[in-house]
Amino acid sequence: MPTADAAPILQVRGLEVRYGSVPALRDVDLEVQRGEIVGLIGPNGAGKSTTLQAIVGTVRASAGEILLGGVSIRGQAPERIVRSGVGLVPEGRRIFAALTVEENLRLGLAGRRSKNGAHEALEMVNELFPVLRESRRRHAGLLSGGQQQQLAIGRALVAEPDVLLLDEPSLGLAPTIVDAVFEKLGAIRDRGVTILLVEQRAQRTVAFADRTYVLANGELRMTLGPGEAGDTDRMVAAYFGS
């Protein structure tokens, strides 16, 4: 009998999503084990964001299963899925520009499963991202892109999710800031948070993650290990379909 710990923290089986009659995802299978960093890469329009949205319940899956710790979450309301331990850093960050940095972080507490420990969780995030503490009374809209990305990640982390989904956290950031973001993701994993990372930066992600799925045209093409980051031929073939 599988125990909760033995089951993958997140498991997607035969996932299909349609926008109208157009299929955006076909028969997608993926698995994330506790403590892993798993990458999900692919060209524009491949269906990466759709995959994350199906997991958190903001788009409807027309077929397949989505299991969190072995329990089906498919069809549940997004707030319920988030409160079961899934954190999302959405595409485009979607911070509340008119609210302060501190208010944005406090909003993230809504996703907590337990009322206890909220203060410690805020402390932990402020330690991880000192800039958030320094600018806590500023309107979040006044932060730089990199700071806003840290806020979006911190806001998801204060809920202490089991698994953190990130949708292109490095998009639009300067190279040095991108380095910092990847470094923080490592630190987050070291604190016991499992990560599913959607990225456009293919090589970097493959080298960084424990495993990386390649998605193209709504279908999974292959899985790559960190050693295969240099294998550009295979990646190009997967991206453009051969």
Partner: protein
């Protein structure tokens, strides 16, 4: 001179009542993107609850008024707003029209068209005399109550976590839900606060406005329409501007009806031309500032509530 001060105070009190209604309508608009045209019928229901129980104790009567209006607000949310959650704004507006007329018809069948006289607390309609100035107590109480509600609500929205969640849901409800904010819980709280304000208006209105002493099936309908106009003119996207819009409309109606002759002939007798004068002003304002009178700029979309 003192007569003008009295008129101005009465106008501020009327503005306060309209401002309260604007808060009630604006709160629900914020979290639901729904313009509740049936808001006045909540006030009407509360007024009937008060009118039918005025022989009992005042406290009991007011408690019953709040119970009826809160129950009706909750019923609206559960039976109409929630099933229409993903409907277009037009569908929802039409639905609230239907609810408004349904409630008016029920009142008409149940209580008749003649109306019931309602005085909740007779002592409050007596004047307070300061020198040659005579101000009715209810005028002062109304202004204080409205200011108190506004202050309390501001504290609630900025200091409590459910208030913060309400603001976030008003700005971007999908993102709020992605953070774990329970949309239905937040909406229910907003609907209940909005209902409590309607009950408060039901208690105050018949004392504060002499011609509103008579409770009829279309009670508070005219006020709702004027408040909705005020809310749109003020800028419905933010609670403060919506409230200011409602207040301004009430103040204008009060001031115009106080300063214009109430009888006689053309051009401006308040009884006949008041509404036309007010709405003409509204059209001018909307032509000059279509984004709302009190909105600072086009930032309103990210700056709601």
């Amino acid at each position: 001179m003192t007569e003008h001060v009295q008129t101005l105070l009465d106008a501020v009190a009327l503005g306060s009542i309209y401002g309260l209604m604007a808060i009630g309508i604006g709160l629900v608009f914020g979290v639901l993107r729904l313009v509740n045209f049936a808001y006045g019928q909540l006030v009407m229901a509360g007024a009937y609850a008060l009118a039918l129980t005025q022989d009992v104790s005042v406290v009991l009567s007011i408690a019953l008024c709040f119970a009826v209006v809160l129950a009706l607000s909750l019923a609206m949310e559960l039976a109409a707003f929630r099933p229409l959650r993903n409907a277009s704004p037009t569908t929802m507006l039409v639905a609230t029209f239907a609810i408004s007329y349904l409630l008016q018809s029920i009142a008409l069948v149940r209580f008749g068209a003649i109306g019931k006289i309602l005085v909740v607390i007779p002592q409050l309609t007596k004047p307070l005399t300061i020198g040659s100035l005579h101000v009715r107590w209810i005028t002062i109480v109304t202004i204080l109550v409205a200011a108190g509600v506004f202050a309390a609500l501001t504290l609630f929205l900025t200091r409590t976590s459910i208030g913060l969640q309400m603001r976030a849901a008003s700005i971007d409800s999908e993102t709020a839900r992605l953070l774990g904010v329970r949309a239905n819980a937040v909406i229910t709280v907003a609907v209940l606060i909005s209902g409590a304000i309607a009950a408060l208006v039901a208690v105050i209105l018949p004392m504060a406005v002499p011609e509103r002493i008579l409770v009829t099936p279309d009670y508070a309908l005219r006020e709702t329409i004027i408040v909705l106009v005020g809310v749109v003119v003020g800028g419905i996207d933010r609670l403060l501007t919506a409230t200011l819009g409602g207040f301004t409309m009430g103040f204008l109606v009060g001031a115009l009806s106080g300063f214009l002759p109430s009888s006689g002939s053309w051009p401006f007798t308040s009884s006949v031309y008041l509404d036309s004068a007010v709405f003409m002003l509204v059209i001018v304002v909307l032509l000059l500032r279509p984004e709302g009178l009190f909105t600072r700029s086009r930032r309103s979309v990210v700056d709601r509530v």
